[in-house]
Amino acid sequence: MVKALNQALFQEMERDADVLVLGEDVGVDGGVFRVTDDLQRTFGSQRVIDSPLAEAAIIGTAVGMALYGLKPVCEIQFSGFAFQCFHQIENHCARYRMRSQGRFHIPIVIRMPYGGGVRALEHHSESEEQFYAHIPGLKMVIPSGPRNARALLAAAIRDPDPVIFFEAKSLYHAAKEEVPDESEVIPIGRAQVAREGDALTLVAYGAMLRVALEAADVLRDEDGAAVEVIDLLTVSPLDRETLVTSVKKTGRTVVVHEAPKSFGPGAEIAASIMDGAFLSLEAPIRRVTAHDVPFVGFAREKANVPDVPRVVAAARETLAF
């Protein structure tokens, strides 16, 4: 997936001279995960900027660039470091269009690696998409594989408004997929049905999509249950229509995410399904999530991040309800 993201940046920077990249170690080093590899050599240090170790400065500068008409793509090394720039994101990125009554908009992309599964240290494994999804004025995008990562990053860069772009660390090198040469764009705000079924709807995104698909395999092989898997791709704005259409068919839902359960995306997803498909529900909507604790150290990581057995168990309870 790293290569696919790198290709998206290449293609977009070639397509549009206003696109530029800034962040810690993105230039000479090519980024902490090598997503920006070779960009500086190709586009120069005026368009691929090594910033100081100051997240607030990265986003603050980028807001200024965006107001000036540029299209900065910022990299935060780990999403756990983003609170240093949360003020710039919430107070400025998200608000400029409203504040200026539409005169200004902020075409900015903020990329951050997120999530567990790579046994990293504290502040390196969090899944905190709910903070951004909750802020009006931001879009929150999380791809689940190389091909949709490339297409969504292209869409995010072309979007006229700020997009928070989460990249699952566990997919950076593990996820491999053939990607066509031509540039592709997936519209933001639209979920995809990753697998069709009529017994239960599994909702997932990012790294959890693979967990959901594997759980669906188990349920198909061991329970004979045709599970529909929905890949959100965009957490916010939420594609309620796709969710409701699916649940009207299945009547049962399990939501999987790496963020802690309480007040997480699963709650909003469940509420939206109840709004739209209440009379089709055969069972309470279940959530399989990380626990309501700060992200645990790597030794306990496996107990915290949802895995296939937990998803299968929740799905079976829901199917048997």
Binding site: G251, S262, L279, R286, V288, D292, R310, A313, F321
Partner: protein
């Protein structure tokens, strides 16, 4: 307080059973409706489900042992701290509904069942008056609740996901959910199905996990006989059937929400007693399902009244207080024989009229707690004196709250005599699932043109309410006339006794 579970009345007049198998061990934690015991009566082997969720403290019986109705079989440990009350009370304990997922450690400690009741709304946690009690507990529950009056949700993280009120009162399998407090447990999809089929969930027999009404329950309620209601015929004979029948269409209405009465002044919410609720449900059922029509008539009972007066003393010497009611019973039963469609029940699901070849007549008795209708069996074949004696005994049992279930069921037709309280007439509601009911007001002397002269005569106003699906106005008039004729010519009763 440990909760004992006694052998319930298994119906069909059975008073004794033999324990075949004990399906649980002391210390087991059971979900509500989990299989508990297998007992054998002289009719069948029956599995008795656990009436509540909780831990089995003691098992008092062993296989091979004979037990009587009312014997304690199993004692459950102190749990939700609420009375069980078949159908009326609040059970409790998280029964497989809000349990955390397997392998998912709950962030907060799991609640023990004993704690669960603490978060319940007051109405669910206190026992609803059982049939043996008056308004005591009900009065204690009178609370002037502000706001919408809905039960508050349980508080605290990790608490069961459903308020105890929704789960607590799940009726044991085989009872309708109608006796529950709060909404009937059913998934939204089942609710939609019920709405589409016009089925009232409260009248549906719940067979699902935790007392839930399932899609199948709704479908069978819509399609006719509910599972389990087709109780075996007492003597095993199949009902007579002349032709194949089709179900009638089912109609239903959802009651609209009530306004917030608090906005106009203070109110108190008083939980209905078990009996009151039963009456309310049966009246709603009857008035909703049956198109009622009432025929009025007056019987000249001058002669009958004279006969009764003349015989009061002789009857008293035989230990009997002679009343008009026994004559009414006799006149009605004999008239029913001529008009069998009024001694019947409509089976809309099957599209059949079930005509009963027995004449068990109910007599409405105003007990202190509410209206109760004890049943006198085989009224047509019994001497008047015997009827009078049975009637007195039954009425006394009812007033003392000692009537048995068998005293109260099996009726085919009902008589309600409101004469004692005055009035000139009333329109009674049919005692569902019967077809007709006879209302009798106070007999009065009135000036009447009798054989060309105005004379004082004793007139008895009667009102016959019947199911217009089963009979038409002319049928009702003829049936009422048959009763009137017997009351007006008591010597005719003599011939038929």
């Amino acid at each position: 307080m440990p909760r004992p579970f006694a052998l319930p009345d298994l119906g069909e007049g059975l008073t004794e059973a033999e324990i075949v198998k004990v399906l649980v061990n002391e210390g087991d934690v059971l979900a509500e409706d989990a299989p508990l015991l297998e007992v054998e009566t002289d009719k069948a082997t029956v599995e008795i489900p656990s009436p509540f969720a909780g831990r089995v403290a003691r098992i008092h019986v062993q296989p091979g042992q004979s037990v009587k109705v009312g014997d304690v079989l199993v004692t459950f440990e102190d749990s939700a701290g609420v009375a069980s009350g078949r159908g009326g009370g609040a059970g409790g304990g998280p029964a497989g509904f809000g349990t955390p997922l397997a392998g998912e450690p709950s962030p907060s400690p799991r609640r023990e069942p004993s704690e669960a009741s603490n978060v319940g709304p007051p109405s669910a946690a206190s026992p609803v008056a059982s049939s043996g009690q008056g308004a005591g507990p009900a009065a204690a529950n009178v609370t002037a609740r502000a706001g919408s009056g809905r039960a508050p949700a349980p508080t605290g993280a990790g608490s069961p996901q459903v308020p105890p009120s929704a789960r607590a009162s799940m009726a044991p399998t085989g009872e309708t959910a109608a006796s529950s407090v709060g909404p009937v447990p059913a998934t939204p999809a089942t609710r939609r199905l019920a709405r589409e089929l016009g089925v009232d969930l409260r009248a549906v027999r719940a067979t699902g996990a935790g007392g839930r009404v399932t899609d199948d329950d709704v479908r069978s309620a819509a399609g006719g006989a509910q599972p389990g209601t087709t109780a075996p015929v007492a003597d095993g004979r199949a009902p007579e059937r002349v032709a194949v029948a089709k179900p009638l269409a089912v109609v239903g209405v959802e009651p609209p929400p009530l306004p917030r009465f608090e906005q106009w002044g203070p109110v108190a919410r008083q939980p209905l007693s078990h009996l009151r609720r039963t009456i309310a449900e049966r009246m709603t059922l009857s008035a909703t399902l049956i198109p009622h029509v009432t025929h009025f008539d007056r019987a000249d009972i001058t002669e009958l009244d004279a006969i009764i007066r003349r015989n009061i003393e002789p009857a008293r010497e035989r230990g009997i207080t002679l009343t008009l009611t026994s004559f009414l019973l006799k006149a009605a039963a004999l008239s029913l024989r001529e008009h069998p469609q009024f001694n019947a029940s409509l089976d809309p699901g099957a599209g059949e009229l079930i005509v009963k070849r027995y004449y068990h007549l109910g007599v409405a008795v105003a007990a202190e707690r509410g209206l109760i209708v004890p049943v006198i069996r085989d009224v047509d074949g019994k001497p008047l004196v015997e009827l009078q004696r049975e009637l007195a005994a039954l009425a006394q049992r009812v007033r003392e709250g000692k009537a048995t279930l068998d005293d109260l069921r099996g009726g085919t037709f009902t008589i309600t005599n409101i004469g004692a309280l005055g009035g000139t007439g009333a329109i009674p509601i049919i005692n569902y699932p019967e077809v007709a009911i006879l209302g009798v007001a106070r007999g009065r002397e009135e000036p009447v043109v009798h054989e060309g002269r105005i004379v004082p005569r004793m007139l008895l106003p009667i009102s016959l309410t019947f199911d217009h699906r089963v009979a038409d106005g002319a049928d009702g008039a003829r049936f009422a006339a048959a009763i009137v004729r017997r009351l007006e010519r008591p010597e005719q009763l003599l011939l038929e006794w």
